[in-house]
């Protein structure tokens, strides 16, 4: 899922300085699951903004809305009546949520409240880690399901660099060296020949950015 993190409050306050009435839009899918932009966090952010504006003596009215997915045209259009009442929209969706709103309401300034960080999974309660970089040329079949492009700092395709330090990565003694993990996994499955093969340089342009996927009609 897409993982995001809320921006610090003063950055957000700078963006919406001067507006009297704004709409904060939450997104009900990925950012809810990673506790960043769900209905709860929308309420917390609006409460903080109201507190701050009251403290500074300027007037601020906030409308709140959380839709199922911000990256869906029809769902964003449903916000029309609320958007018309406000001067600016603060989106708590990931990057792929802020832009549809900006596109569908072109004359309305739309601001991001979150920093989208990576595609990942939960590691513990309230902790998420990156597991996929969406490189467009998946390599997982060759490494027993451990992605070296994400989990190896240098993204090597051909076995460990000289910097493996007791199974940990040279640059961070907390992080495991991806290729040590891959070696153990392949050894366990008896598929070490996958690691012995030579892999040519990666096609960095497998997906011409910004990517586009066109599937044949279902």
């Amino acid at each position: 899922m897409i993982v995001a993190e809320r921006k610090p409050l003063e950055d957000i306050r700078e963006m919406i300085a001067g507006y009297k009435k704004i709409l904060i839009v939450g997104c009900g899918t990925c950012v809810t699951i990673c506790w960043a932009g769900g209905e709860k966090e929308v309420a917390v952010l609006s409460s903080q903004l109201r507190l701050a504006s009251k403290k500074d003596g300027n007037e601020l009215e906030i409308l709140e809305a959380t839709i199922e997915r911000q990256c869906e045209k029809e769902l964003v259009e449903a916000l029309k009546d609320k958007v018309q009442q406000v001067e600016a929209v603060l989106s708590m969706g990931c990057g792929a949520g802020v832009q549809p709103i900006a596109e569908i309401f072109p004359d309305m300034p739309v601001y991001p409240a979150l920093n989208t960080t990576f595609v990942g999974m939960p590691e513990g309660e309230g902790v998420w880690v990156e597991t996929c970089r969406a490189c467009g040329d998946c390599f997982l079949d060759k490494t027993g399901g451990i992605c070296p492009i994400v989990r190896c700092a240098k993204g090597l395709l051909n076995g460990p660099c000289g910097g493996t330090n007791n199974g940990k990565c040279e640059i961070d003694s907390e992080k495991d060296c991806a290729w040590t993990l891959i070696y153990r996994r392949l050894e366990q499955q008896g598929r070490l020949d996958a690691m012995r093969k030579y892999y040519p340089p990666r096609n960095f342009q497998a997906v011409i950015r910004p990517g586009k996927v066109e599937t044949l009609p279902a």
């Binding site: 917390v44 903080q48 701050a52 009251k54």
Partner: protein
């Protein structure tokens, strides 16, 4: 704005029904007095107090918020009081971000038969909030 001396802080106290609320009752039955501007709100467990409730209390003009739960390792719901402690810490950071003094929200632990401890906490916090003065949200300071 009321004169400093006459400032009577509005303190909201979320009291866990298993311990703090009964401690408040015990204080009453033992006729131990504590400031009357402590406003007690009964909750099933300290773990029921949400970050949002505390922020909304400040929005409505509270000068200080107290979360009173069971002692550690004595919570009927095992992790209720620990979650409450972590949430109070988060509210501290949220308030600092806004520019309100984080010391306006605090958590204490009590047992149901500690009436005098409830009164002592109420008095101490009342004095501390008096020093801090009215909440900047209310007076737009």
């Amino acid at each position: 704005m009321k004169a400093k001396g006459a400032f009577l802080p509005d303190i909201v106290a979320f009291c866990c029904a298993q311990s703090a609320y009964q401690a408040a009752d015990t204080a009453g039955s033992m006729r131990i007095t504590y400031p009357e501007n402590i406003r007690v709100i009964r909750v099933p467990c300290a773990g029921r107090v949400d970050v949002l409730h505390i922020l909304r209390a400040f929005e409505k003009g509270a000068d200080g918020v107290l979360v009173l739960g069971c002692h550690e390792e004595a919570c009927r719901h095992l992790s209720g009081n620990i979650r409450a402690k972590n949430r109070v810490q988060r509210v501290n950071t949220l308030l600092q971000e806004v520019g309100i003094d984080g010391k306006r929200v605090e958590m204490f632990t009590l047992a149901p038969n500690q009436g005098s401890r409830f009164a002592r906490i109420a008095n101490e916090v009342n004095e501390r909030i008096k020093e801090l003065g009215p909440s900047p949200v209310k007076s737009g300071a």
